[in-house]
Subunit: 208 residues, 2 copies
Amino acid sequence: MPRAVREQQMLDAAVETFAQRGYGAASMDEIAVVAGVSKPLVYLYLNSKEELFSACIRREAEALVAAVRGAVEPGARSAAQQLWCGLRGFFAHTAANPDGWAVLNNQARTQGEPFAREIAVMREEIIELVTRLIAAASREAGYDPELAGREVAGLAHALVGAAESLAGWANAPGGDSPTSKEAAATLMNFAWAGLENLMNGRHWSPAL
Amino acid sequence: MPRAVREQQMLDAAVETFAQRGYGAASMDEIAVVAGVSKPLVYLYLNSKEELFSACIRREAEALVAAVRGAVEPGARSAAQQLWCGLRGFFAHTAANPDGWAVLNNQARTQGEPFAREIAVMREEIIELVTRLIAAASREAGYDPELAGREVAGLAHALVGAAESLAGWANAPGGDSPTSKEAAATLMNFAWAGLENLMNGRHWSPAL
């Protein structure tokens, strides 16, 4: 079996084991058993538990970013529709890959450096994409994005944080969790209405 | 000096040190120096670095929840105004206590159990409060919350995730970060518009 195929099997086994046991409790023995290979082969290919974990984070982060970018599909659609497709892509991917999402959202963030840094880089990339789409949607609607650069960036940070929180809820075991489509709809209602207000210069002001 | 006062000094020093060095790199020596006490006294009062860190998380989580609850002030205000006050309280508190927020949002979450569990409990408490306020606001507006239990819970998860993300951005060093008032306004525009749509049964639907 070619090395590349074996490595993917090891990464599949590692993502599953890290997601389910947690990084600290996951053992290289168990990962080798799940992958159906010998432990020395895992060390030969991936050096250490730290490097194996980093490789898992990189693979899962790239897959998530690719799923979101792929779902966006520029083409003839409006920026608002691209945003909707990107959100659907995000929730569909995290629902279809719960172990990968757990590695990124729970495990990698909770193990300090250098892993947290890799998550921060992925997050920045997604925030940039969302900022660009929100700015394009507000341009389409005739709203001057120069005036609202910080509002657009604020909406993008809010939207990405909201998406992470909803994906965590949607993937939580048991309970009354939404489907990935419901989560996307909740967020798009949320985001779209906020965006419309922003584009129309409407602001909620407290009557205090 | 009474023990309670000394302990608060140690916790002040520990929160500052954990926020700035990170949990792993922070040393009990440095914390004792910053607190102006001897290292044996820190161990006598707080036992270990783990217990000191737990005590910091508990104190900062309680202070944050108390700040949000205190800001909400039921009284005669509408639920929408209570939500606005709660958001303002959240952003004002995290801006005034950046080290405490860094301990909760960056350090405690990134050190695995038992610390992550304490953050999850605080988060659940805030999500419950926000869910209750959103449900009350939609009742005030005549929207039947029975029909929309999951939508209300979804909005609450989205809102809390968005608030965390915006507070992280607002407290990031350098860059074009918003003030706490701007962050609250961005989020309230976002939340309020989403809530209005929910209350009016309006949904964004993609024209695909």
